[in-house]
Amino acid sequence: MADLETFRAEAGAWLNANCPPEMRVPFDGEDAITWGGRNWVFRSEAEKVWLERMAAKGWTVPEWPREYGGASLSRDEAKVLREEMGKRKCRSPVESFGIWMLGPALLKYGSHEQKLEHLPKIARGEIRWCQGYSEPGAGSDLASLQTKAEDKGDHYLVNGQKIWTSYADKADWIFCLVRTNKDAPKHEGISFLLFDMASAGVTTAPITLISGASPFCQTFFSDVKVPKGNLVGQLDKGWDIAKYLLTHERDMIGGGSGGMFASRPLGQIAAQYAGQDGGVLEDGMLRAKIAQLELDAWAFSLAVDRGRDLAKAGQGLGAYSSVLKYYGAEVNKRALELVMDSMGSDALEWEGKRSKEGKTARDWLRTKANSIEGGTNEVQLNIIAKRILALPGA
């Protein structure tokens, strides 16, 4: 503990000295995040300097080993670092699918050479990754994917199509599930492949969502040549890596932060727009729904805590992430429905300054994806029925 406090003091002093003041302002939206990558345009010198300094220190990925661009911090040290950054409102220097997803997968399944090649670039924000999982005919049923990689001696030849590829149009490399054995049972012929999005034969097309945003793409592969050294793990065993990453993704979407919920307490929003009378909301029906939602959201946050504590105590259930993913999505969707109910016609404006270009409505529509992305609610319930309740045929 003494060591931890020493580390805390040192980290604090370093942050004081090195974090530019412009980087000590909270993000005002997804647009302000530093994603990095070959084509990244820093919006300020401070943004660039901050990333460079943190990367040099290994603190963009503090728990990764030093040789791969991290700082080899212990879990407790990393927590202290987050706390000290939080106190100073330091922005995250870089966020990416490389840090969240590919990194952990490579650390677990990659070869030493693969780690050396890819992890430091992720840590320095030099390469931006995207994830090639879903396909048009394989949404919830991911394992029925059809994109194939044929062994051509010195390379694989990849053909097929992905969908829901987040920011594929802005990414440099992709980690991709491909079918390498079409005769094996559907879970057993899948491999995990890395390749450059600048390769010949790769094209992308953005998808416009109902919220008006286009964070996702369709991605097409036509005779894309991929060096054989870019296979992660064993041939035909990519499903294990995919499952590992899916659990990871569920934790991020469902639990963890406790979801996005509303930006301020629902009761306050409703009081402002729909009126109070004697300390209670005038609209009794809305009040009851808000109170029920707030109770459920609070109870859910305790279940998230408990899930984390169970895991720490070695009593965790693998499928607990499905429990949190399912319920978190529902709570989030209900919360934004109630924000809309509370704000009435003001929330129905889609453009213009007053509504911040329809921010509330767009947030509301965004939540509808919560119960679809990272495995639909139906899939989560199936997982609970099968793995926890051991129901027949589930």
């Binding site: 969908i163 416009t208 996702f216 727009y273 729909a274 609209d283 129905l348 404006e349 679809i372 609610n377």
Partner: protein, 379 residues
């Protein structure tokens, strides 16, 4: 009155459906939306709809209309809900015509109704001043000035406000916000001096506007009905709008539901049609049940407006509450069961979800109307 359509009404439905499928399918809505048309609907289409008798469905024959009832008006709106047809039907042909035909003077009727029936005049009701519907909360003041009145205040969420030629403005001439007496309805030219409109682009691309009234002068002939006694006319207009919105919700919700059922019959996952999964089957069977129940409330409300308009209030509240909630459920299930594709603008489910969200909010959402019924029942 049996809760079924008569043969004539069935024919009217088929004809409206045929017309809208040909002239105003969802592609028409998308065209209007994507062209950023400031009117948010097509004047040409509205004139053609007027020729079909839609604009004048409630206008008495003496004033150039077809003199039918609310059930017929609801049939048109239900079909328009299926095709998301943008038009000033709700604001002008239901709300304004109800106020005018039942409460206006002969001179006012003669001046306004024929133009409405021809699809030439758009009339919008300006009632709410806050973000939530609260008709008794009117604060916009109308003070006597000379032979007439002077209006000062604000209105928001005025449907078809940005297209309106004439506004029906609910103003306070006596009493305090929260009281239903002391409210007076005025006819105000949308271009009158002191009237400022700010168009608000809505989630569902509906034409709506916020208004500011600064020293707007109107003469005594602008008053609809009695001074201070406008509540009954206001409620009548609102109830027409609520029942119409309920019918539109039944149409939009029904369309989403049917498309979703069709989809699960065809889409395969895990080697099965997803419609084979009992989890989805039970949810769809539940939704069907709720849709049927919502449909019954909507038809009943429309029939009551035709038969016993003064007793229709609670039935209209029931219909608006129930259809809003169920159409919302239908749109949510529609998106969820379509998975990622349901979230794209390429499919229509997001558009239905937005349209339903706005329509359920118009003239009071389910919470408003449920609370109202509870109060009527004394608890």
């Amino acid at each position: 009155m049996p809760l079924v359509l008569t043969d004539e009404q069935e024919m009217m439905r088929d004809s409206a459906r045929g017309f809208l499928a040909e002239h105003a399918p969802i592609a028409h809505f998308r065209k209007i939306r994507d062209s950023r048309d400031p009117l948010c609907f097509s004047r040409d289409l509205w004139k053609t709809m007027a020729e079909m008798g839609f604009a004048g469905v409630l206008v008495p024959e003496a004033f150039g209309g077809v003199g039918l009832g609310y059930v017929e008006a609801g049939i048109i709106l239900e079909e328009a809900g299926r095709t998301l047809t943008p038009s000033p039907m709700l604001s002008t042909a239901l709300v304004a015509v109800t106020v005018l035909a039942r409460f206006a003077s002969e001179a006012q009727k003669t001046a306004l109704l024929p133009g409405i029936a021809k699809g030439e005049r758009i009339v919008a009701l300006a009632v709410d001043e806050g973000a939530k519907h609260k008709p008794e909360g009117i604060a916009l003041s109308a003070k006597r000035a000379g032979n007439g009145f002077r209006l000062d205040g604000r209105k928001g969420f005025v449907l078809d406000g940005a297209a309106a030629d004439t506004l029906i403005v609910a103003a306070r001439t006596a009493g305090a916000p929260g009281e239903i007496s002391g409210i007076t309805l005025f006819l105000v030219d949308a271009k009158a001096k002191g009237v400022t409109a700010e168009q608000t682009i809505m989630v569902d691309n509906r034409n709506a506007a916020r208004f500011t009234f600064e020293g707007v002068e109107v003469d005594g002939g602008a008053v609809i009905g009695e001074v201070d006694g406008g509540w009954a006319a206001l409620e009548a207009g609102l109830n027409a709008g609520r029942a119409g919105a309920a019918a539109e919700l039944v149409g939009a919700g029904g369309e989403v539901f049917e498309r979703t059922v069709a989809y699960v019959r065809e889409r395969k996952q895990f080697g099965k049609l997803i419609g084979e999964f009992q989890g989805l089957q039970h949810r769809l069977a539940h939704l069907y049940t709720e849709m049927e129940i919502a449909r019954a409330t909507s038809l009943k409300a429309l029939q009551m407006l035709d038969e016993k308009p003064d007793a229709a209030g609670p039935y209209v509240a029931l219909a608006k509450a129930k259809t809003g909630e169920i159409a919302r459920l239908a749109s949510q299930e529609g998106v969820q069961m379509h998975g990622g594709m349901g979230m794209t603008d390429d499919l229509d489910f997001g558009i239905f979800m937005k349209k339903i969200r706005v329509t359920q909010e118009i003239f009071g959402d389910a919470n408003f109307h449920t609370d109202r019924i509870a109060r009527l029942r004394g608890y």
